[in-house]
């Protein structure tokens, strides 16, 4: 019996390792590719591990210093695209847009969800269903109205415009998750806070929000990741590096027939950093928050 169990454990471990490799290898390969020179990477077969790792590609993206390898082989004109130099700006835009969307989700998501969870006002339930239902529309279906709307507000090619679009797409889910989360918190505790001298708002701040932290972290992570990597709306509402986000820039780099594979890899690696950090920091909350709101609600 014990031996059989040990074999089972070993099998599970192997399966886990295989699964981990399937997920990780593409990432590692991109990382490795970003550390090579173009001529190394286009060899057949391409090296799995960078033979002579170099950060020249990164250097070029941030400072514009052309990698020595390109200069020497006279590949400069064809493969080092100028678009790549927009990556730092794109990262910054993406980060700002994502952070703005997170803040709007936290602020309005909390207020709306708390109202839905605690108040009994006529029409509140209908509003709740409407908000949830609005999420069921395919986003492409509202693309043209959104475009026209943004244009009339003079928000095309602006970060604020993107924040508004992404908030509209993420808020319904955030409100839903937080409503379930708030509903699962015992009312007693809030009532105790009210009697202990809190105003409604103080009770929310001192008691409800700390207890809802996992739910808040979950929606923060969700809205961050969504808006950081959204492509479609970013593509057709942005125009210049003032508002182009990282997915748009990477796409424009990679569709360029002159594109350098190593530089595309650099863009991908750089764009992954923020989401990975975010996911690592909030890992515990995201799972527990979503699980709690779904099971307890």
């Amino acid at each position: 019996m014990r031996r059989r169990r040990r074999i089972a454990t070993a099998l599970y471990a192997c399966a886990g390792v295989v699964l981990g490799l399937i997920i990780l290898v593409p990432f590692l390969y991109v990382l490795s590719a970003s550390l090579q020179t173009e001529s190394e990477l286009i060899r057949r077969p391409p090296p799995i591990v960078a033979p002579n790792p170099t950060v020249d590609n990164y250097d070029y993206v941030f400072t514009g210093a052309v990698p020595a390898a390109y200069a020497s082989k006279e590949l400069l004109r064809g493969t080092v695209t100028q678009d790549v130099r927009q990556i730092p700006k794109g990262l910054r835009n993406s980060f700002i847009v994502a952070l703005g969307t997170v803040l709007i989700n936290l602020l309005f998501g909390t207020l709306a969800a708390y109202t839905f969870a605690r108040e009994r006002i006529r029409g509140l339930y209908a509003a709740f269903v409407f908000i949830l239902g609005s999420r069921l529309l395919p986003s492409v279906a509202v693309a043209v109205p959104i475009y026209v709307g943004l244009r009339s507000m003079d928000l095309l090619d602006s970060k604020l415009g993107l924040v508004l679009i992404y908030s509209a797409f993420t808020l319904p889910f955030s409100v839903w998750v937080l409503t379930l989360y708030f509903s699962s918190l015992p009312v007693d505790i809030e009532e105790a806070a009210r009697i202990d001298g809190c105003t409604r708002f103080q009770a929310l701040r001192h008691v409800v929000l700390p207890l809802a932290a996992p739910g808040l972290a979950a929606i923060a992570a969700f809205s961050f990741l969504f808006s950081y990597s959204e492509f479609l709306f970013a593509l057709f509402t942005t125009e210049t590096s003032r508002s182009k986000t990282i997915p748009v820039i990477i796409a424009s780099v990679s569709v360029n027939p002159d594109a350098s594979y190593t530089l595309i890899a650099v863009g991908i690696v750089l764009s992954m950093i923020a989401p990975i950090l975010f996911a690592l920091v909030f890992r515990r909350y995201i799972t527990s928050g979503l699980a709690a709101s779904l099971t307890r609600g």
Binding site: D188, I189, A192, A193, D196, V207
Partner: protein, 408 residues
């Protein structure tokens, strides 16, 4: 400290149910009043209205002379202990206790020192840095108390504070709460469904049913002179035995208890003429188990004041025995009387005689020397002053109790 007054207070929920009806009640400064009744009687609603967690539909609630109907809970200067304790799970014991002071914007040092004092008073010093989930039920209960007293409020509200504790702890905390309340002398409204808790802890006890205050009085008064059948049944354990019988008058008053006719003594008959209108009619006779005794060990009771029956169960308690017996010749109580005596919808079967029972089941709390065993005939002596009479239609006490009725 403050007195609390209710005048004509009503609570009607939006769906039309009336939770509290015309409650008028004055609670003195420093007094501990217990609201007791079966679940759904409106006692918790009353408490929540005082706290400001529930709107008042009609009437006035005053705290310290000030009408608080529309005052925000935070402004009422009251503290509440919840049935679930409602501790803040993300704060330590010390932070929980100090929370009202933090909201009141006291300086951190002052907060900490007052929280420590309260913790010392409640024996929680060692737990100050722990989180509520690391505490036992009794400790959590104390933290909830601590959070209530730290602010030195005008009024304490306690909503079934002991119902989540096990029996022995409940016994201990009951005494602690009574002691604490006496020591700090804050006006307290205490809600419970447990009549023993109500009797032991309260200066005065208010019995409620169906949103109405039935009787308010000190515990002994409620026990000795219940104004209603319901109060009579609700206070005391085991509950008062009830039977219907005709009141007659041949010289003195007498009532038929099953097949016997029991003469009433002077105390039982009460003021002259009080019973006259009931002569020849059926009345409800109430006999507390404690006031019955096995005739074999109660030689001092006159032979005429006895009822007979067949013992179905004998429970030994050590100090006493509880003898269950079927009264000879007894008829089941009418539905009207049962409805008046029991809590609506709570225990509708409690007084229901089983179909095969010839008479009604009485319980006598006898001296342990009582020789009567199971399936034997028992003669139960009725002690002087034990018989209490009630109107079978209204459930109101009649005879000697009529003068002391304190229905609010």
């Amino acid at each position: 400290m403050a007195d609390v007054g209710f005048s004509q207070v009503n609570k009607v929920y939006p769906d039309g149910t009336t939770a509290v009806r015309d409650l008028t009640l004055e609670i003195d400064d420093g007094e501990l009043v217990v609201l007791v009744g079966p679940s759904g009687c409106g006692k918790t609603t009353v408490l929540r209205m005082v706290a400001g967690l529930e709107d008042v539909s009609g009437g006035e609630i005053r705290v310290g002379g000030r009408v608080v109907n529309d005052v925000d809970p935070a402004e009422r200067d009251i503290a509440m202990v919840f049935q679930t304790y409602a501790l803040y799970p993300h704060m330590t014991v010390g932070e929980n206790i100090a929370f009202p002071l933090k909201i009141a914007k006291l300086a951190p040092e002052e907060r900490a020192s007052r929280a420590r004092d309260v913790a010392r008073l409640l024996g929680l010093e060692a737990e100050l840095d722990r989180k509520p989930r690391q505490l036992s039920g009794g400790q959590r209960q104390r933290v909830a108390m601590g959070r209530a007293i730290v602010r030195q409020p005008q009024v304490f509200l306690m909503d079934e504070p002991l119902s989540n504790l096990d029996a022995s702890l409940r016994f201990q905390m009951r005494a602690e709460i009574a002691n604490l309340q006496q020591r700090i002398g804050v006006t307290t409204i205490y809600v419970t469904h447990d009549q023993v808790e109500a009797m032991t802890i309260g200066n005065r006890v208010a019995v409620m049913r169906g949103g109405e205050l039935l009787q308010l009085g000190d515990p002994q008064e409620l026990y000795d002179r219940p104004s209603e059948l319901f109060v009579a049944r609700f206070i005391g354990s085991p509950p008062m035995n009830l039977i219907e019988g005709e009141l007659s008058r041949e010289g003195g008053y007498a009532v038929a208890v099953g097949s016997r006719v029991v003469p009433l003594d002077e105390a039982e008959a009460g003021e002259r003429g009080a019973l006259d209108s009931y002569v020849g009619r059926s009345v409800v006779i109430g006999l507390r188990p404690e006031r019955l005794e096995d005739a074999a060990v109660a030689s001092d009771v006159p032979a005429a004041r006895r009822i007979g029956g067949l013992v179905t169960l004998r429970e030994t308690l050590g100090s006493d025995v509880l003898v269950h017996f079927e009264v000879e010749g007894a008829l089941p109580l009418s539905g009207q009387v049962r409805a008046a005596a029991v809590a609506a919808a709570v225990d509708p079967v409690e007084l229901e005689p089983a179909a095969d029972e010839p008479g009604l089941l009485f319980i006598g709390r006898f001296d342990p020397r009582s020789p009567t065993g199971q399936q034997e005939r028992v003669e139960a002596a009725i002690r002087p002053g034990a018989v209490q009479l009630f109107d079978p239609e209204t459930g109101a006490a009649i005879g000697r109790n009529s003068g002391s009725r304190s229905r609010a």
